[in-house]
Amino acid sequence: MFEIFGIPAAALFGQLLLGLINGSFYALLSLGLAVIFGLLNIINFTHGAQYMMGAFVAWMLLTYLGVDYWWALILVPVIVGATGIVVERLMISRLYHLDHLYGLLLTFGLALIIQGLFRNQYGVSGLPYSIPDALQGGTNLGFMFLPNYRAWVVVASVVVCFGTWFLIEKTRLGAYLRAATENPKMVGAFGINVPRLITLTYGFGVGLAALAGVLAAPIYSVNPNMGADLIIVVFAVVVIGGMGSIMGAILTGFGLGIVEGLTRVFYAEASAVVIFVIMALVLLIKPAGLFGRVA
C-alpha cells in the first residue's frame, strides 16, 4: 500500500470520506442560512438552536408518541418550520427596515433563550436516540468500515441541497422569490403576496435546520448545546462561500468538511481553528466570499 505524506493511502481515503460526511451537515445548515440571508437579509443566529430543536422534536416524537425516524424526517421540519413562521411573523418581520445588526441581536437572543429552556428541562448530558433498524450495520469498503447510517446522511444531504438549489435557481417559484428580494414593491404590484412569500422562505430555511437536526440525532448526542458550537463553524462556512450564495454554501460546506477531516489526520489540535483560518484568508483575498457577488 502506498503512502501520502507518511499516512497510508487507505487511512487517508477513510478520512476524506468522514470529512465528506461532516461536510454534509455543514452544507445542510449553511444552505438554510444562505437561503434566509439571501432572500430575507436576516442573519439568523437562531439556526443552531433550530437544528437542536430538530433533534429534540425527533426524540420527543419517538419517546412520547412512538413516531419513528422516517416519519420524523417529514414531520420535524414541518413542526419546527412552523415555529419559525410564528417567530418570523411576531418578531423578525418587524426588523426588515432596520440594520442587519438588529436581526442578528434578536435571533442571537432567541437562540440563548431556546437553549436555556431546553437545558433547564433536559440537562446537558444528552438523550439517546437509536439508529433506525433499516440503517443499522455497515459496509466494509476495504479501506474503512462505513456505517450505513453515515452513507445515508451523505445521500440525503446531497439530494436536499441540490433540490433546494434547483427550486430557487431554476423554477418559477424561485424566480418570484428572487424577484421579491430585488424589488418587493414591483413584485407585489404583479399580485404576488410578498410578505407571505418571505414568511414561507424563513419557515423553509428553519425546516432545513430541523432536518439536519433529525439526521444528527442518531449519531451525535441529543443535547441542548449541540447547535451552539456548530453554528459558529457554519457561519464561517457561509462567509467563505459568500453570504447569500446558495451554491457557494453547498460546495463550501462539503469542501470544508473535507479540509477539516484532513486536518484531523495531520494535526488534530488545529482542527477546531482551521476553518477560521481559511475564513480569514478568504476575507483578505476575496472579501465577498468564494462564490459571492460584490454588492
Binding site: 437545558r119 439508529i131 468500515f145 451525535y220 448526542s221 448545546n225
Partner: protein, 398 residues
C-alpha cells in the same frame, strides 16, 4: 459610664447562647452550570453543599453559612475573574468544586495569592497536589493518577497491553494520558500513539479511525463528559469494539452512563470514589439528594462537595476562625469522616485519601432500573489508591 458593663453583658449573652460566638462563612460553588460538565457538577454541587450545611447543623453551632454559585463555562479566564471577584469584593472564604483542570489550576493560584481556601472536587489533574500543589488547596474526590492506577492497571491485567490514546487537548487530558501511560509502561505494556482532539468535540470518528489503524488493543479515552459519551457511541457505530479493540473510559461518571444507556455502556470498566448504592450510608444520603435534584442520583463530584463542605465546617468549629492558615491546619490534622467516603485523611500535599472502587457497568438485563448501573469489581484500599506523597514533587512535602 463604666466601659466594662457592655462587654460583660455581651460576654454573658454569648455564654448563654451556648457557643463561643457567631461566625459568618461565605462559600462559593464554582463550576460548569451550562456546558458539558453541568450534569456531573452544576446545580447538584450547590445542593450537596446546602445539604452539608444542614446536616452539620451549622446554624445551631453558631456558624452562619451563605452559599453562592457561578458558572465558569469551563474556561480558565472566566474562572479566574470570578474567583478574584469573589475573594476581593464578595468576601468569599472558600471556593468548592471547580471541574475542568485548567480552570481548577487557575483558581488554585488565585486562592494561594489571596490566602483563602480551595477544596476541589470536580477537577482531575494530579498536578493540583503535585508540581502545582498549594498550602491553600485540598483535592478531594479523585485525580488522574488514581484513575490511571484503577482502570489502566485493570485493563493491562486482562492482557490488553498495547494502547492508543484519544485525548482531550487541555490540562486534564494531558495529565490523564501521562499518568495512564506511566501505569501501562510500568506494568509491561506499550503506548503506540495518541491523538489530541479539541475540547469539547462532537465528531470523534476521524480519531477513532486513527486509533483503529494503529493496531492497538486498547483505546484509552482520556476525555470526559459528553466527549466520552460521543466517542463510545461512535466507536460502536464504526464497528471498532466489534472488531476486537476494547475501550477504556478513563474518566466516566454515572451521569455519562445514564446518558449513554446500558446497551452501549455495558461491560465498560471504570474507576470512581463513590457510587450511590455502595452501602447504607451512601444510599440514604443519595436518596435525599435525588429528591432535591429532580430524581437524578449524585455523581462522585457531588459527593465530594458534600464531604468537603462538612469537613471544612468541622475545622471552622474546631478553630473558631475562618482564617485560611489555622483552618487548613485543622483540616489536615483532623481525620475525615462522613457517610459517603468513610474514614480518611488529608495529606500534607492537600490530597484527600480514601478508598477507590473499580466498577463494571451492568448489562441491561442485570439492571433493576434507572441508576442501577454498577457492579463492584474490587476496592482499591486508600493506601494504594493515590500517588505516594513523595512521588508527586510537591514542595510542601519535606
Amino acid at each position: 459610664m463604666n466601659i466594662a458593663t457592655p462587654i460583660l453583658a455581651a460576654a454573658m449573652g454569648l455564654a448563654m447562647a451556648g457557643s463561643a460566638y457567631a461566625i459568618d462563612v461565605k462559600i462559593g460553588v464554582l463550576n460548569d452550570r451550562s456546558g458539558t460538565y453541568a450534569d456531573l457538577s452544576g446545580e447538584g454541587s450547590v445542593i450537596a453543599a446546602q445539604m452539608a450545611v444542614e446536616d452539620f447543623g451549622a446554624a445551631d453551632r453558631g456558624i452562619n453559612v451563605e452559599i453562592i454559585s457561578a458558572d465558569h463555562q469551563n474556561k480558565p479566564d472566566v474562572a479566574s475573574t470570578i474567583a478574584r471577584q469573589w475573594y476581593d469584593e464578595e468576601g468569599v472564604d472558600a471556593i468548592f468544586d471547580v471541574p475542568t483542570s485548567s480552570a481548577a489550576l487557575a483558581v488554585n493560584e488565585i486562592t494561594r495569592e489571596k490566602n483563602k481556601i480551595f477544596i476541589d472536587s470536580g477537577a482531575a489533574s494530579s498536578d493540583l497536589t503535585g508540581a502545582q500543589c498549594s498550602p491553600n488547596t485540598v483535592h478531594w474526590t479523585y485525580d488522574t493518577w488514581a484513575l490511571a492506577n484503577g482502570t489502566g492497571a485493570a485493563m493491562v491485567e486482562t492482557g490488553a497491553d498495547k494502547w492508543f490514546f484519544l485525548t482531550a487537548d487541555y490540562a486534564f487530558g494531558h495529565a490523564l494520558e501521562a499518568d495512564t501511560s506511566a501505569v501501562v509502561e510500568e506494568t509491561g505494556g506499550e503506548v503506540l500513539g495518541s491523538v489530541r482532539h479539541p475540547f469539547p468535540g462532537q465528531d470523534f470518528s476521524s480519531y477513532l479511525l486513527q486509533a483503529q489503524s494503529s493496531g492497538a488493543e486498547v483505546i484509552g479515552l482520556a476525555n470526559a463528559g459528553g466527549d466520552t459519551v460521543n466517542a463510545i457511541k461512535q466507536a460502536a457505530e464504526f464497528g471498532i469494539t466489534q472488531s476486537g479493540q476494547s475501550l477504556a473510559a478513563l474518566l466516566m461518571f454515572i451521569t455519562d452512563v445514564h446518558a449513554l444507556g446500558l446497551d452501549a455502556a455495558q461491560g465498560l470498566v471504570l474507576t470512581e470514589s463513590f457510587y450511590w448504592d455502595l452501602n447504607e450510608g451512601t444510599r440514604q444520603w443519595s436518596e435525599r439528594f435525588a429528591e432535591r435534584n429532580g430524581g437524578d442520583m449524585p455523581t462522585m463530584v457531588h459527593a465530594g462537595v458534600y464531604a468537603g463542605v462538612l469537613h471544612y465546617l468541622k475545622a471552622i468549629e474546631e478553630t473558631g476562625t475562618i482564617d485560611a492558615g489555622p483552618v487548613m491546619e485543622a483540616m489536615k490534622a483532623m481525620p475525615t469522616s462522613d457517610p459517603l467516603f468513610g474514614e480518611g485523611e488529608i495529606r500534607a500535599d492537600g490530597r484527600k485519601v480514601h478508598d477507590m472502587y473499580l466498577f463494571r457497568v451492568k448489562s441491561p438485563d442485570a439492571s433493576e432500573g434507572a441508576w442501577d448501573y454498577y457492579d463492584l469489581v474490587y476496592t482499591i484500599p486508600a493506601e494504594n489508591a493515590f500517588r505516594p506523597i513523595e512521588e508527586g514533587g510537591c514542595e510542601l512535602v519535606e
